[in-house]
């Protein structure tokens, strides 16, 4: 089993200086941008993206071409790149920002051309200071060459790109929270409707919000074709995808593959198995928000639909492997604490519920649990996400609250005994 390198090809072949514009251009860089300006048919570009069937790489998996098609007519329209990568386990956008920023900028140029946009923002999380510097340098190089700014590629069109730094809020990965943040407000998700930023987005103007990996795929699709892209991977999950592998594997990292192999093959092949030859107790298939799978479920295929059918999600493509000795209560607590910390505080079920879940798990983990704690955990979860179903029912504006429920339902579904073993035994009044 091998990687299929589309997005990470250039950086692999030019490890020392893939971030420089000259090196990028020498390797066919900016040819997609030249091509679209030469052919000068925005409709064709959107068609090509629709044909490729690429689905958003941020987590929700929404078809990108369809999203572009929604963009309402207006004199002012914006493109916002979501580089607020913060889902625990995920570090794939970081490599694209650090090592191939021009690929992203070229994707921005093509996307802006297709949708007649003249102002784009790259919203990078504040903790990614170094990746942000690389992108900033690359933007500057592109301005110098005349690929950004006024009359780009002598096309008569203008395009400005601003790199905007976030300030440490996971919730800003949610697109409407990101837009609020970019407007200089608290990063609180907006009430829906209006459902799509493509109609009412930044400054209430039509706005495309796309993930770094999605837009970085655009130059390849234009240089080749949507058809060629759709041939890769499997139906419903076309193209390649960069998976971030971490946890108890021997060789963690980012691996670009065609979707369709099983998690077990992926972990063996690229992670080179589990540290100290241990076995897998559980793994997270798509970032901290995704319900876990057990070590017996390693044959599930890595596609958006297969994972959804098995009761979880491929999400951000972050695979976190936990070996047989992992304390799963502590693991669940870590995830719940994350959501408790990152809750924006607007909705009561999320703000209060996540904090309660954290407190209860903390006392169970430290041996101070009560026999009633499992029921209490599930009750709190039920108040955040009624019925504990997947995909989750919501009582909140955004899915952050229900995401904190995932590790608890996973724990209770497959590892209830492990939790019970930490609790005091029920005292029977007439015991023998």
């Amino acid at each position: 089993m091998k990687e299929t390198l589309l997005l990470t090809k250039h950086m692999r072949e030019n490890p020392e200086n893939s971030h420089l514009i000259d090196v990028y251009e020498k390797n066919n860089g900016y040819s997609a941008a030249r091509k679209v300006f030469k052919e000068n048919n925005p409709g064709d570009v959107i068609e090509e993206i629709k044909t490729s069937n690429i689905r958003g790489r941020g987590g929700a998996g929404f078809p990108t071409g369809v999203k572009w098609g929604f963009l309402a007519e207006d004199e002012e329209r914006y493109l916002v790149i979501n580089a607020d990568e913060s889902e625990p386990g995920t570090f794939k956008d970081r490599i694209l920002l650090e090592r191939d920023p021009h690929q992203l900028i070229e994707g921005i140029i093509v996307t802006s051309f297709a949708s007649n946009i003249s102002k784009a923002f790259i919203y990078i999380r504040g903790e990614y200071a170094k990746p942000a510097r690389r992108v900033q340098d690359a933007v500057e190089q592109a301005y110098e060459k005349g690929y950004l700014g006024k009359n780009i590629f002598d096309s008569g069109k203008d395009l400005d790109v601003v790199v905007h730094l976030g300030a440490g809020a996971y919730i800003c990965g949610e697109e409407t929270a990101l837009l609020n943040s970019l407007e200089g407000r608290r990063g609180e998700p907006r009430l829906k409707p209006p459902y799509f930023p493509a109609v009412k987005g930044l400054y209430n103007k039509p706005t495309l919000v796309n993930n770094v990996e999605t837009i970085s795929s655009v130059p390849w699709i234009i240089n080749n074709s949507g058809k060629d892209y759709a041939k890769l991977g499997v139906e419903g999950s076309t193209g390649t995808r960069i998976f971030s592998l971490s946890g108890h594997v021997n060789t963690p990292g980012n691996f670009e593959i065609e979707m369709g192999c099983s998690f077990g093959e992926f972990i063996d092949n690229f992670g080179n198995g589990i540290k100290e030859n241990k076995s897998v107790k559980a793994y997270i298939p798509g970032g901290a928000s995704a319900p876990w799978f057990t070590g017996e479920q390693l044959d599930i295929k890595m596609t958006i639909d297969d994972v959804a059918n098995a009761g979880s999600m491929l999400g951000s493509g972050a695979v976190v492997v936990m070996d047989e000795d992992t304390n799963l209560v502590l693991a669940a607590k870590s995830i719940v604490s994350f959501f408790a910390h990152e809750s924006c505080g607007q909705c009561t079920p999320c703000r209060e519920g996540t904090t309660w879940l954290e407190m209860i798990l903390e006392r169970i983990a430290s041996g101070r649990g009560r026999t009633s704690d499992i029921d209490l955990l599930l009750d709190v979860c039920d108040n955040i996400s009624p019925g504990l179903a997947w995909p989750p029912q919501m009582t909140t504006i955004c899915p952050l609250g229900p995401s904190a429920v995932s590790p608890i339902t996973s724990l209770m579904g497959s590892f209830r005994e492990e939790v019970e073993s930490l609790l005091p035994k029920k005292v029977l009044i007439n015991n023998e």
Binding site: G89, A169, G184, F338
Partner: protein, 203 residues
Amino acid sequence: MSWDSKLIDRAKEIIELYPQKRSALGPLLYLAQEKEGYIDDDSVVEISKLIGITEVQVRSVASFYTMYKQEPSGKYLLSVCKSISCEINNSKEVIDNIKEFTGLANNETDIESTFTFEEVECIGACGGAPAVQINYETVEGVTPTKALELCKYLKEEVPEVIVADELQDKFGGTKSFDWAIEDNSGTSSTAPGFQIIGTSEEK
């Protein structure tokens, strides 16, 4: 301290980049933090005047985000990740060691203003767990022992600029991916080392 004309010019250049003034609020808060080490009251007043919103609105936004510090930080902001991949790769021991060395609890600054310690959520370095940031420069694969050495180094050598590559070589281990590109960029304050282009102050 109120802002001098140079800083105000820079702030105005940043505001120019955005279709609406208020969007510059985030970058201006970083400008304040770069200067003072935290969001001080005078900067809040300056920013509110520049953008045309109230001081309370500025504070309301500043207090929402963890990277805008409401109190002065030490020279080095030590942020240790405790999210899932780091948690299962022993970040607790890294945290304990740093706490013991610095004598600090979460979100505290020492009396000499050398260190501020904080436990943070995922910093996108999961393949290099456990990971640490010093003034937002990432070092990956930091063992509990290396974490101690890192603290000692900062305390004794007192480097002016934090360069991730340099610290990674000295104190890091497994990385999330091959960093490959040689990089000497870094930061000299507890605000992320990032300058907005088109604004006058060079790195």
